[in-house]
């Protein structure tokens, strides 16, 4: 068993920042990551980092823009923390040597981005994420922080109490991709999940193939609620054949969108009144699809993004990377022709529920970065707000896990008196659970684990009503579970995972993950995309259920213990199933139009009813939906919901 004070799962922007912060506080910290850190998807970020650095700007403006951009579904304390900490964190990166683009006076450059009232997006060419990732990895090397790379974390080691609020996380189970060994990792102080996005839920995404939402799915099944999962950002400018992103920086610098008829549609059809191409991402994505659906798209599939008029000099100075992307992945020369673009999945606004210190409901378990939801993006993330999220909340989680007192959080996690259950959601199939004959399925098909089954049996003996509304005081603090030493918790988790992997490997035939993954992705893209309606969402739930049932019969074809990617993809696919369901359930329940969540039958934002976060808890093998209110009270002001118009 490996043992450290703080374990960081994931070596992307959030993970590296968390590890450095914990190390600076004196903790013995290690990073466990399925990819070598420099291969993380943060490296793909192009546009930049929002930070109020210059005269005329301040954190309050940044907070205001973010609140408005979120369509008032962000929590003010989180948003204000983001805006307050970002300048210092951004300058910290510069001080670590990050090669930002520069102004004539030698200071870092900033540029305009969608939905921002000030040009506060700090950038390094059109490859900001690459430089940020490498700069932080350099600091990790400098500090000698231990990195277990190509170790896949398959599960968390969490105590077995009835009430998730009583559970504690003592470590994780790791699978050494190179050798096939399964080993325990114990964390004396805390585990920080920084496992990134879940773009692989969809089949047209800007995300990496490794972005399978592992951390969110593991935390969810361990009892941590997922928050606001229905809010998936679709980026308006991705290349049609691969999903590779063409940065918002192109529109920031003055790029123009045209339909097949050569019309600059953002203005001509009134999708945007002031900002044109630089309206928020949700607005632009819908405008493009509306054009395409109305028959004004190119090849019925995409529209054009034109930057030729910016001139070669400006393009090579600020957007050179875009020229490479368009050429290598679409065969288009951006200096000579307009680039074809269409919307693609880009970012998951929701995720693991945390407070401003990165803490989740489970003691000792933290989350930061795209896998987490402190709720800074609400229902729509502004471009350039994810990278500051990584460094701001990554650093906070690292410090807190290392034992630094960051003060009482204003955001509370878990159920409280003002949370309300979802009462009458009409789902076409029973979510989560698989068919009745699930008792002896071989693979981990989303049926209850032994632990869960045991726990629920014990619970039904104790609390026959089981009405689902629990506050921490309802249950005795030992939660009915025998007190288990941390080492033992980790050992048990390791055993469980060994059995799970053995079963997957022993099975001789069945269905392969690739088929299930494809079915899931296609249905999600078809039914839970930019435009959503009840019928489609229900179809998606049926399809997910079908995939979940089929997954019980999944098997791993590759018998090798060396670099078995077949096995890894199989485990990842299970995670995708749970997350796809969470997204779809939340979307079906929310019958309003807010931010990125558009519903055909519900074309208005319903503040009276829906100023609340969608929460989803995994209860004994099936999801339970409930809500908690949005916090609109900031440090010295309350953000009044206003109509968003661009």
């Amino acid at each position: 068993m490996h043992e450290h004070d703080v374990l960081v799962i994931g070596g992307g922007g959030a993970g590296l920042r968390a590890a450095i912060a914990a190390h600076e506080e004196g903790a013995d910290v290690a990073i466990v990551t399925k990819l070598h850190p420099v291969r993380s998807h943060t490296g793909a970020a192009e546009g930049g980092i929002n930070a109020a650095l210059r005269e005329g700007d301040d954190w309050e403006l940044h907070a205001y823009d973010t609140m408005k951009g979120s369509d008032y579904l962000g929590d003010a304390p989180a948003i204000e923390t983001l805006a307050q900490d970002s300048p210092e964190e951004t300058i910290q990166l510069e001080n670590w040597g990050m090669p930002f683009s520069r102004e004539d006076d030698g200071r870092v450059s900033q540029r305009p981005f969608g939905g921002l009232s000030f040009a506060r997006t700090t950038y390094a060419g059109a490859e900001t994420g690459h430089h940020m990732l490498h700069t932080m990895y350099e600091q990790v090397v400098k500090r000698g922080i231990q990195v277990y790379d190509e170790w896949y974390v398959t599960d968390l080691a969490v105590t077995d109490h009835d009430d998730p609020e009583d559970r504690e996380c003592h470590g994780v189970v790791g699978y050494d991709i190179k050798t096939g060994q399964i080993e325990g990792f114990k964390a004396r102080n805390g585990v920080i999940l920084a496992t990134g996005g879940l773009g692989q839920v969809f089949d047209h995404t800007t995300n990496a193939v490794a972005n399978t939402g592992d951390g969110a799915a593991m935390a969810y099944r361990a009892g941590v609620p997922l928050e606001d999962m229905e809010f998936v950002q679709f980026h308006p400018t991705t290349l049609p054949s691969t999903g590779v992103l063409i940065s918002e920086g192109v529109r920031g610098e003055g790029g123009i969108l045209y339909n097949a008829e050569g019309e600059r549609f953002m203005f001509e059809y009134g999708y945007a009144n002031n900002d044109g191409e630089l309206a928020s991402r949700d607005v632009v994505s819908r405008a493009e699809l509306t054009e395409i659906n109305a028959g004004r798209g190119v090849d019925d599939e995409y529209v054009y993004l034109d930057m030729r008029h910016l001139g070669e000099e400006r393009i090579t100075d600020r957007l050179e990377n875009i020229l490479h992307l368009a050429r290598d992945f679409e065969g288009v020369d951006g200096l000579e022709e307009p680039m074809p673009v269409k919307p693609g999945q880009h970012y998951e606004m929701g995720g693991i529920e945390t407070d401003e210190n990165g803490q989740t409901l489970i003691d000792g378990l933290y989350a930061a970065g795209e896998c987490a939801c402190v709720s800074v993006h609400g229902s729509n993330r502004l471009g350039g707000n994810a990278l500051p999220e990584l460094i701001v909340f990554g650093a906070r989680a690292g410090r807190h896990a290392a034992g630094t007192d960051l003060g009482e959080p204003e955001i509370t996690t878990g159920r409280t008196d003002d949370s309300e259950p979802e009462e009458d959601l009409d789902t076409p199939v029973e979510p989560g659970a698989v068919s009745a004959a699930d008792e002896d399925v071989a693979a981990d098909g989303g049926e209850r684990t032994d632990d869960e089954r045991e726990r629920s049996e014990r619970k039904s003996r104790q609390t026959p009503s089981g009405d689902g509304s629990r506050s921490s005081s309802d249950v005795a603090s030992d939660g009915g579970a025998a007190v288990v030493e941390p080492d033992e918790t980790v050992r048990r988790a390791v055993e469980r995972e060994r059995t799970r992997v053995e079963r997957l490997m022993e099975k001789e035939e069945g269905v392969q993950h690739a088929e299930l993954r494809e079915d899931l992705q296609v249905s999600m893209t078809e039914n839970v995309n930019v435009f959503r309606n009840e019928e489609g969402l229900k179809q998606a739930l049926r399809d997910i259920r079908e995939v979940r049932e089929a997954y019980q019969d999944v098997y791993v074809n590759d018998p090798s213990r060396t670099f078995n990617t077949d096995l890894i993809h199989t485990i990842e696919t299970r995670n995708l199933i749970d997350l796809a369901e969470a997204i779809t359930l939340g979307a079906l329940a929310r019958d309003e139009f807010r931010g990125a969540h558009w519903r055909q039958e519900h074309q208005e934002r319903k503040d009276d009813e829906w100023l609340k976060h969608t929460m989803l808890s995994w209860e004994d093998g099936s999801p339970e939906l409930w809500y908690k209110p949005v916090i609109l009270e900031g440090e010295d002001k309350t953000y009044e919901p206003k109509e968003r118009s661009y």
Binding site: I91, R102, T242, S560, T565
Partner: protein
């Protein structure tokens, strides 16, 4: 082990691969999933029988190196052939994914971003180091032959051991070492546009290892720092935000036996670098700087 495999060891496996596919049965009424599966099965049938479903109506042959140290029948290196339907814009990585997901899920390779930033799919494609994701099939002659990076230990199939590469990168102190902090909390170091421009290309390295694999010297001298690590040193040595003392130290690191002087300016690294970094030029410039520094001490 070496990745060179004699031709006679190759065997065509396409049919076998496909026969081994398991029929998948799933319950439930007609649904979107069923339709997908039917399409998929039809497509698979067709691509095997030589009448593929793609727009241009043809497949191409993908020849892939295979090796697994512990699986019987795979310990002996060989090449497998896959028939892949040609599609517009298809990259080598797309083709590998297709072959893996449709024909043989044991086919193993690293990949993630599929947009030339993560550096994980550097491969030996038709005799040259390239990123699979950045290489269009239409730019290649057939059959498309994919092997692991030469001069690296093969872990399995197309996966090579990168440890040595990482060690060399770490050996050059790959982190910023300024003399002093700028004054004030929110103060950045001032850097001129010219200086950023000077280091710009060197900062683009994605640690793919293509350069190292293409370098004869590195192949012969395991201790040679290699083009990527030297480029990393260049990135800092030329950054005006680091002071003169640090620069001197960096040049000393470069000026040792297995440093810059090993380079014989063959340009192979520069030719294969997927990020167009002028590696050889950077190495030459460091040689000149090192000489200048030595002169200074005389």
């Amino acid at each position: 082990m070496s990745t060179q495999v004699p031709e006679e060891q190759e065997q065509s496996e396409t049919d076998e691969q496909v026969d081994a596919e398991t029929e998948v049965e799933m319950g439930g009424g007609a649904s979107y999933g069923d339709q997908r599966r039917a399409e998929r099965d039809a497509q698979r049938e067709q691509s095997v029988s030589g009448a593929p479903a793609d727009i241009e109506g043809e497949t191409f042959r993908l020849k892939v190196f295979r090796y697994d140290p512990e699986v019987e029948g795979k310990m002996e290196p060989r090449f497998d052939d896959f028939a892949v339907p040609r599609q517009k814009g298809m990259t080598v990585l797309d083709a590998l994914i297709y072959a893996r997901d449709r024909y043989d899920t044991t086919l193993t390779f690293r990949h993630s971003c599929r947009q030339a930033v993560c550096g994980s799919d550097a491969l030996f494609i038709n005799g040259r180091q390239r990123l699979g994701c950045q290489t269009q099939i239409s730019d290649l002659e057939e059959p498309v032959r994919v092997e692991p990076l030469p001069h690296q230990d093969v872990v399995k199939d197309l996966v090579v051991d990168m440890e040595h590469f990482y060690d060399q990168m770490h050996a050059v102190e790959p982190f910023f070492q300024p003399d002093e902090e700028p004054d004030g909390d929110l103060e950045e170091y001032r850097q001129t546009r010219e200086n950023r421009e000077k280091i710009k290309m060197s900062t683009r390295c994605i640690w793919c290892g293509a350069c190292m694999s293409s370098c004869n010297i590195a192949a012969g001298d395991n201790q040679y720092l290699g083009p990527a690590a030297i480029n990393k040193a260049y990135r800092f040595a030329m950054d005006e935000r680091e002071g003169e003392n640090v620069k001197e130290h960096r040049l000393n690191v470069m000026d040792q036996e297995h440093g810059v002087w090993r380079c014989q300016t063959q340009f192979s690294c520069t030719n294969v670098c997927p990020k167009d970094i002028p590696l050889t030029e950077h190495i030459q410039e460091l040689k000149r700087e090192a000489v200048k520094q030595n002169l200074k001490f005389w």
